[in-house]
């Protein structure tokens, strides 16, 4: 009796470990094959990538700076994924956040920084939330699947940015792809000069991460979202407000994405540019998938992804490889995880 009860306990962590590492090993293998196929020396590639991400203080700080918006978006997606929703519209929600931030800066250009910056963050969160809520309204009341609604809203958001940059918010005398006029310095979130990382932004994303972690784990609302995500019919019969909660999940995810948009404008670019989202929304979907929708895993996985993205940048110059290799590794990793999970389900 004792041996039968201990055996599963022993094998379960081992199984878990195997299941967690197998996709990584497979992904590295596939990446290795790709690198060999394009005729690059694998060890040199690895070395350059590590250097590219962690070679000096500036690079290390850049990884953390990229980690901030990526984490904000991934954390927001935990809410929608928990409710069983694919919030592809997160890209547009980042963009709307950036637009909201820019609107606040343009409306109150001379407010002192301690007043202006919280207002900027608030405006960005509200704009992002509204855009997320819109995807939810389309889903809940219009019966438009959130993937299609979100994709459509992404294009509208990009169109809106371009209209603003080339129209009403264009630089005086010349409208260019380089974006709107730079923010005044009082709208810049302070960074640790000469590094490009803002301690306030890092703190903000950690706070948001903790709030979401706690909401999903310890609150009635989080439990209700989980029930909706697993079986919306049963959740409804149990008396849960399914529609209201889905809308709320969309809006709050949009708020997180909007904050990411604010970080993009107030820390990184100091203006609104056409590609303001840097693709962090789509990347965050991969992070959330890889984390199996668990908040504790989001921070480390987002860090690895940020490092992969930045680490592959020098490859272009130094090894004449395309810098999209980082993206390939990220994509292959997620594919492998999904394949291993699917395989496990079939075996069960």
């Amino acid at each position: 009796m004792a041996s039968t009860s201990i055996a599963p306990q022993l094998s379960r962590p081992l199984n878990r470990l195997a299941l967690a590492t197998l996709p990584i090993i497979l992904a590295l293998l596939v990446t290795l094959i790709i690198i060999v196929l394009v005729g690059a020396p694998p060890l040199a590639v690895l070395q350059r990538m590590v250097e590219g991400a962690f070679g000096d203080d500036v690079r290390r700080a850049d990884v953390i700076a990229a980690w901030v918006p990526l984490t904000l978006c991934s954390v927001g997606l935990l809410l929608t994924f928990t409710a069983g929703l694919w919030n592809i519209g997160i890209e547009g929600q980042i963009v709307l956040g950036a637009i909201g931030a820019t609107w606040v800066v343009r409306t109150f250009p001379s407010l002192p920084a301690p007043l202006l910056l919280p207002l900027v963050l608030l405006g960005a969160a509200l704009f992002g939330a509204a855009w997320g809520w819109l995807a939810g309204v389309l889903k809940v009341y219009g019966n438009v699947h959130e993937i299609f609604g979100g994709l459509g809203l992404n294009f509208v958001a990009i169109g809106l940015t371009n209209y603003l940059i080339f129209g009403p918010w264009s630089q005086p005398g010349r409208a260019t792809v380089s974006g709107t006029e730079p923010y005044p310095p009082n709208a810049w979130l302070p960074t640790l000069e000469p590094l490009r990382v803002s301690p306030a932004a890092v703190a903000l994303s950690l706070v948001v991460l903790l709030i979401v972690y706690f909401s999903l784990r310890g609150t009635t609302w989080g439990l209700q979202l989980k029930a909706i995500g697993h079986n919306i019919r049963s959740a409804f019969l149990l008396g849960i407000h399914t529609q209201r909660n889905m809308l709320l999940a969309f809006a709050l995810c949009g708020a997180c994405a909007g904050l990411a948009g604010a970080v993009q404008t107030t820390v990184t670019y100091h203006r609104l540019i056409p590609a303001i989202s840097s693709g962090y929304g789509y990347l965050a979907i991969l992070v959330a998938l890889l984390s199996a929708f668990r908040a504790v895993w989001v921070a480390p996985i987002a860090f690895v992804f940020a490092a992969l993205s930045l680490g592959s940048r020098p490859l272009q110059i130094e090894l004449n490889l395309d810098s999209s290799l980082g993206g390939v590794i990220q994509g292959v990793l997620v594919l492998m995880v999904v394949i291993v999970q699917g395989f496990r389900k079939r075996v069960r």
Partner: protein, 489 residues
């Protein structure tokens, strides 16, 4: 073509959908296959038509054993099936649908069009090759499918519940077509749970129950005998005391409910506090519509559902909940429980508390108490999908609020063993003695006769007056279910 199925067994998991079934159908006859939902009719016919493979058993066509594994191969052997839900392609044209499944890479449309028109003319169907299938009525879609199967050389036509959802004139035409085809030597197998269809059309009928053949009879049919075969013999009944309170708990007046297939009008009945009301009827006769309307899950077209003087028609489901009405669905994992969540999470959700933060240690001890009280074989952290059917039903009962005004149940003991079933009823009887009114649907006539105080029988969109369970018999209920002796109600 003569069709023989010998000793067919098909299991899904641990459930035997077909348990050593044998069936003989002669060429040129219309053979009925009768049974309640879940009796195994559709499974058997899907095996014959190549949709499923049997675990064991043989298919013999014209005295020759055959083997096939896909609908395409079955059709090559001359067997075609019309499924209950049409498996056609609504966005495509009638001609496209007619041509689908034709072999060959290049398909000449001109000759296919001629073939379609010829087949349709022969069957007296009016099929317009260029109209879209999405614009056709269900009856016309059936005609298209029949034409397609015949043009592809079907000698055996299987029709699965074809009269559900088509209009009366279309039904008349369908029956005429089938008789005409049988006269030409085609073999027709007609799957149904409707006695009137069998009486009108079939020469012989085989009755299935719980995956087994319970009998085969030829014309003339006795509706009573068929009902008894479908539902089983009534066991000697234990007389239970009828006791309920004088207070009328639920008043339903002139209620109209409808779904795509069926509409009921003028439904009126009362339920008193502590009364157990059973809804009997062949599945799909409207009892589920009325029950869902009473639970706030289906919006009534008009009429009144009054609880404590308050008319709930048009209100949101949550208002029904707040009034003390609870609904226990038949699909425990589909609508009742949330797969992936454990028992404590369920109990915490069902509390519907206003607490923002969950006290997990209290939730766990609450769920441990409930597990003990309701004798659930599971732990607070057991996922509900890992529980057995009986334990899932116990969990669902444990999730119900304590002081309910009205409890509505679909198939409360379906799929449960005898011990779990009698435990469930002990729980329900305890609730009724505290004044909860209970309405339940059951496909098991014995269950209805044993536990209900009064029975309302549903048949073809009509309801009977309440029949006191103590004064009735399987025969009387069976006749009502078959649509006989229906009063003006």
């Amino acid at each position: 073509m003569k069709v023989e199925l010998r000793d067919i067994t098909k299991t899904f998991g641990s459930v035997a959908a077909n348990d050593h079934i044998s069936l003989n159908v002669d060429a040129g006859t219309i053979h009925g296959l009768l049974g309640e939902n879940g009796a195994g009719k559709s499974t058997l016919m899907k095996i014959l038509s190549g949709f499923f493979s049997a675990n064991s058993g043989t298919t013999v066509l014209n005295d020759r054993p055959v083997q096939y594994h896909t609908p395409l191969e079955a059709l090559a052997h001359g067997i075609g099936m019309l499924h209950q839900d049409p498996l056609d392609f609504p966005p495509l044209s009638v001609l496209d649908n007619f041509m689908l499944g034709e072999r060959g890479f290049i398909q000449p449309r001109v000759s296919a069009r001629r073939k379609l028109l010829d087949t349709a003319r022969h069957l007296h169907f009016k099929l317009e090759p260029d109209s879209l299938v999405s614009t056709l009525t269900p009856g016309e879609r059936q005609q298209l499918e029949i034409a397609r199967l015949l043009a592809r050389g079907a000698e055996v036509l299987i029709l699965d519940e074809p009269t559900t959802g088509i209009s009366q004139p279309q039904k008349v035409q369908l029956f005429a077509t089938l008789k005409h085809l049988a006269g030409e030597g085609k073999t027709i197998i007609f799957v149904t749970h409707k006695l009137e269809d069998v009486e009108e059309l079939c020469q012989r009928v085989t009755v299935l129950r719980h995956g087994k053949v319970v009998g085969e009879v030829a014309r003339p049919f006795s509706a009573q005998a068929l009902v008894r075969m479908m539902f089983g013999q009534a066991l000697p009944r234990v007389a239970h005391p009828v006791f309920y309170f004088d207070e009328t708990r639920l008043r339903v007046r002139d209620l109209a409910v409808a779904d795509r297939r069926l509409r009921l009008d003028g439904v009126s009945f009362d339920v008193r506090a502590g009364e157990v009301l059973g809804f009997a009827g062949l599945e799909g006769s409207g009892q589920r519509l009325v029950l869902r309307a009473c639970g706030g899950l289906l919006r009534a077209l008009h009429g009144a559902i009054e609880l404590g003087g308050l008319n709930l028609v048009g209100r949101h489901y949550r208002n029904f909940l707040q009034c003390g009405i609870a609904y226990l669905p038949a699909e425990r994992l589909g609508e009742g429980l949330v797969s992936g969540l454990d028992l404590s999470e369920h109990f915490e959700l069902a509390r519907r508390s206003r607490d923002i933060v969950i006290d997990w240690s209290r939730a766990r001890s609450l769920s441990e108490a409930k597990i003990q009280e309701y004798n659930i074989r599971g732990r607070p952290d057991s996922s509900v999908e890992d529980l057995s059917g009986g334990n899932q039903q116990r969990a669902l009962l444990a999730l119900l609020p304590v002081n309910l005004k009205l409890l509505l149940l679909e198939q409360p003991t379906r799929g449960l063993d005898i011990e779990s079933a009698s435990w469930v009823w002990a729980q329900l009887m305890a609730r009724r003695s505290q004044g909860t009114a209970i309405i339940f649907i059951s496909a098991d006539l014995d269950e209805v006769l044993t536990y209900a105080d009064n029975i309302i029988v549903f048949s073809g969109g009509h309801i009977s007056a309440p029949v006191p369970a103590r004064e009735t018999s399987v025969e009387e209920i069976g006749n009502l279910m078959a649509g006989k002796q229906f009063a003006a109600n």
